[in-house]
């Protein structure tokens, strides 16, 4: 039980690395930086592996969670109480406590694993960059935050990791801080995430106010207790608020806008944070809160619809983007939409499974893209690439595997997870959502198209780059290709963990997660949902859907082949040819950023009117300076005016006839006499005193 008892050490390894970089990084050699930071993550990965192995022994397949409380974080000696909604009191308390169950085990493994690979990759990728130690410090800090997030046993500690990853994302997007676009993107990421965070914190507080605890185990137990009806309004609101947080972190409509811009960061960052790990935190959190969500069908529906819409929306934008990383970014948003679709239809395990497989192939795609960019001397525009397959073969092969995986070609990883989601959406227990299936299906088609487009534009066709660039093209170093290969293996094999029963598999992945989700699914299904269709009867339908989606993948890829396989300089975009307005809209990302700038941030003016936060800020500033401070100054002015009047009165009325008048009177006839008594000779004054003395004496003697 050593590893389970010391589970709190896992986040501390990278934290140690980050602290070392913070204090001594500037003075360290690159090799030392590598040893510390990469070493910390490797140790964390190994530790995590042993921990999960120990946990499986501990749980014996029951999936009972392991909780390890280190110390009380929020709250004193338990006397800080507050009134819950039902009028009873609850103690304000959140521990620095760790929770390990199948859900967090999966995240733990792939976060540390993928994180480790990306750290190794970064050694090669960042070798020539400035701020080497800074980069690795931030990366380690990110690992710390992410591990805190997934190991936390309550919402508040989860929020520490939640905001922590947001901060690291901010720091890493803004890594090239001399570039304004990078810092703009960083700010955008943080602030948009903050909107989500505000929702998240309100959601967590609502839960605490309603249920009296931040702890997942307590909340789950209460949610399972049957005290709360399905559709409980407070729980619905709490779930929706939590989902706002998830939208921010996992880049869902309408808060997805930061993720494409986040590609300003170094590519390993995009791979680690903006593809594999951080953006799945929202999925993790919703899955973690499944007990609450299940009691709130409205929230579930919202999650599903938002997820599906995001998926198709982002995929549509991805169709026409030219920046290789942006395509991948929109692809990520789209895939995240898939995951939420799965969560929303109650297929938590399927969603988590897609997170798991997606981590491999999307990280691989980003790292591969990084390798391409590395080879192209920093060029990211696919219009200037082409015909790279022979020159960087390892990169080409691994990226091809990833593309096939994401497009859903069997038997690669993406096929299993994506089809599971589509199938679940189709036959969802939450009422029939064939529309959602249709959207998902369309998205699959688009996914295949834009991914194939990426591959063809990059690796096929005719070379379109300049000569110097062409001259410099070279395969990346071993430290970069190594992780690519490992991830490629993962992209092939990860799906085999969850082969569905219909294909003769055992769905080991789903079984492993079952204890986390099982009761809830049953509970939610019970009253309203139609009976779960028996496997055998629907196997035919399921196969049919599988075939359909594979066909969609092939068709999408085939279209792309037709348009881009031989793209030379000045190739044309098919959409631009056939529907120019649509192309403009897609190319400009449906003008969402512009709309937000007009409506919410206020960075753009409508005519002379500025709306949004900056508009409100300007209005408030004006109000403050003119009205409030103006009132204060007016009071001052009035006082001064009165004072001036008083001064005039004082000078010409009081001081004039009333004061100076008698004075003049005195001065002229009276003062010479008075001066006799006051002429400055000390002894004269003494004489006056003696006179006074005499006076007193005479008075007393003759009285």
């Amino acid at each position: 039980m050593f590893f389970l008892d010391h589970i709190w050490l896992i986040p501390l390894f990278p934290a140690f690395g980050a602290a070392m970089m913070f204090f001594f990084g500037r003075r360290l050699q690159k090799a030392t930086v590598n040893a510390i930071c990469v070493g910390a993550v490797v140790v964390a990965f190994l530790f995590a592996c042993f921990t999960v192995v120990e946990y499986t022994h501990f749980a014996h397949g029951t999936g009972r969670p392991l909780e390890k409380i280190v110390y009380t974080w929020l709250g004193g000696n338990g006397h800080l109480n507050f009134l819950k909604k039902d009028g009873t009191t609850a103690s304000f308390n959140a521990d620095a406590g760790f929770l390990l169950d199948p859900l967090s085990s999966i995240w733990l493994l792939f976060v540390t694993g993928v994180g480790m690979l990306i750290h190794i990759y970064s050694v090669g990728y960042m070798a020539h960059e400035g701020g080497y130690y800074r980069f690795f410090g931030y990366m380690n800090l990110f690992m710390f935050s992410m591990l805190t997030l997934i190991l936390a046993n309550n919402y508040m500690l989860l929020f520490v990791g939640w905001e922590g990853v947001g901060l690291c994302s901010y720091l890493l997007i803004g890594f090239y801080f001399h570039r304004k676009s990078a810092t703009d993107a960083a700010n955008k990421a943080f602030i948009v995430n903050r909107i989500g965070d505000a929702g998240f914190i309100l959601g967590a507080l609502t839960l605490s106010w309603y249920l009296g605890s931040f702890r997942f185990t307590d909340i789950n137990a209460l949610a399972h207790s049957g005290h709360f009806a399905i559709g409980d309004p407070v729980l619905t609101i709490a779930a929706l608020l939590l989902f706002v947080g998830a939208c921010g972190k996992s880049a869902q409509l309408p808060l997805y806008v930061w993720l494409p811009d986040a590609m300003e960061g170094p590519t390993p960052v995009s791979a680690l944070i903006h593809a594999a790990t951080m953006v799945t935190a929202g999925v993790y959190m919703v899955a973690r809160s499944n007990a609450v969500f299940v009691l709130a069908p409205t929230a579930m529906k919202t999650v599903a619809i938002i997820g599906a819409l995001t998926a198709v929306f982002a995929a549509s934008i991805g169709l026409v983007q030219n920046d290789i990383k942006r395509v991948l970014a929109y692809s990520t948003v789209s895939q995240l939409g898939y995951m939420f679709l799965a969560l929303g239809v109650g297929a938590f395990a399927a969603g988590v499974f897609h997170v798991f497989t997606h981590a491999f192939f999307k990280a691989l795609l980003f790292l591969g893209a990084g390798s391409v960019i590395h080879a192209m001397s920093g060029e990211q525009d696919m219009r200037n690439m082409g015909d790279l397959r022979g020159r960087i073969p390892t990169t080409y092969k691994t990226m091809l595997i990833a593309t096939l995986a994401i497009a859903g070609i069997p038997p690669l990883a993406g096929f299993f997870s994506k089809d599971e989601i589509l199938w679940q959406a189709y036959r969802s227990a939450y009422g029939s959502f064939p529309y959602l299936w249709l959207i998902g299906f369309g998205t699959a088609l688009m996914t295949a198209f834009y991914m194939a487009r990426l591959i063809f534009l990059t690796f096929y066709g005719q070379p379109r780059m300049s000569h110097e660039v062409e001259h410099h093209i070279h395969e990346s170093p071993k430290s970069m290709t190594g992780p690519l290969v490992v991830l490629a293996i993962g992209s092939v094999c990860a799906g085999w963990l969850g082969v569905p029963a219909s294909l003769g598999g055992t769905n080991a992945f789903g079984k492993f997660l079952e204890p986390v989700f099982a009761q809830e699914t049953a509970a939610s299904v019970a009253p309203t949902a139609p009976q779960e269709p028996a496997g055998e009867e629907h196997r035919g339908l399921e196969w049919m859907l599988m075939v359909l989606s594979v066909v969609a993948a092939v068709v999408g890829g085939g279209w792309a082949y037709g348009y881009y396989a031989n793209a030379g300089k000045g190739y044309t975009e098919p959409i631009a040819v056939q529907a120019p307005p649509l192309y403009t809209a897609l190319y400009n990302k449906w003008f969402v950023d512009e709309a937000y700038d007009y409506a919410f941030t206020g960075r753009r003016k409508i005519g002379d009117v500025r709306l949004g936060a900056m508009g409100a800020g300007e209005a408030s500033s004006w109000f403050d300076a003119k009205i409030i401070d103006g009132a204060v100054n007016d009071v001052g002015w009035v006082t001064r005016a009165v004072a001036t009047l008083s001064k005039w009165w004082d000078k010409w009325i009081i001081d004039g006839p009333l004061v100076n008048g008698p004075a003049i009177l005195c001065r002229f006839p009276l003062s010479p006499i008075a001066r006799l008594f006051e002429w400055g000779l000390v002894q004269w004054y003494a004489l006056v005193m003696v006179a006074g003395l005499l006076g007193f004496g005479v008075y007393y003697v003759w009285k």
């Binding site: 000779l681 002894q683 004269w684 004489l687 003696v690 006179a691 003395l693 005499l694 004496g697 005479v698 003697v701």
Partner: protein
């Protein structure tokens, strides 16, 4: 204890002990005091005036002794004749006496001043003659031997209790301290 002793002393003294000195001794001392007082205010040279003042003070000291006040007499000699007058003499040396000794002694209004003083004297004389009956012929006798102890008791208290004048005494010491500081600061050339 204190009370008993006092009453005992009073009774012995009341029973007819003679005054310390004979009347002519008083007249001599009074005469010396007044004559040298006149010298103080009339001498042109300040040093002479100071010496005359010392004589006055000594004569008054004699009068104190005649009044059973040996402690006050001691203070008078030590503080006045010893301390203050030395101070005066020092100051006289510091300031320019040559010039002042050649100038007018009296100010312009000396006549008025003198008149006022005479009026004051007249008032006194009148008051004394009129109120003569108020004063008893002989004073209450005092214990000369224990005079200093008695004063000490009043100043410092006894048996752990504050005396009647202890606080005033402390205040007086503070006054002296302030006066010293003030004098030092005023006479320092550059502060």
């Amino acid at each position: 204890m204190n009370l008993a002793m006092n009453s005992a002393l009073n009774s012995t003294i009341n029973s007819g002990m003679a005054p310390v000195a004979t009347p002519w001794f008083f007249y001599v001392l009074a005469g010396v005091a007044v004559i040298s007082g006149v010298l103080v205010i009339t001498r042109r040279n300040a040093v002479h005036a100071a010496l005359a003042l010392i004589v006055t003070l000594l004569a008054v000291t004699g009068l104190y002794l005649m009044l059973y006040a040996p402690f006050v007499a001691g203070v008078q000699i030590i503080v006045y004749a010893g301390g203050i007058m030395v101070l005066f003499l020092f100051v006289i040396m510091l300031v320019n006496i040559d010039r002042s000794s050649k100038e007018r002694r009296f100010n312009r209004i000396w006549a008025v001043g003198l008149g006022a003083a005479c009026a004051l004297l007249a008032l006194f004389v009148f008051a004394f003659t009129k109120g003569k009956a108020l004063f008893p012929d002989r004073g209450m006798p005092l214990a000369e031997g224990s005079n200093t102890q008695e004063i000490a008791k009043m100043l410092y208290g006894e048996a752990g209790r504050m005396g009647q004048y202890t606080f005033a005494f402390e205040i007086a010491s503070l006054l002296l301290l302030v006066a010293i500081l003030g004098a030092v600061i005023m006479t320092k050339k550059k502060i």
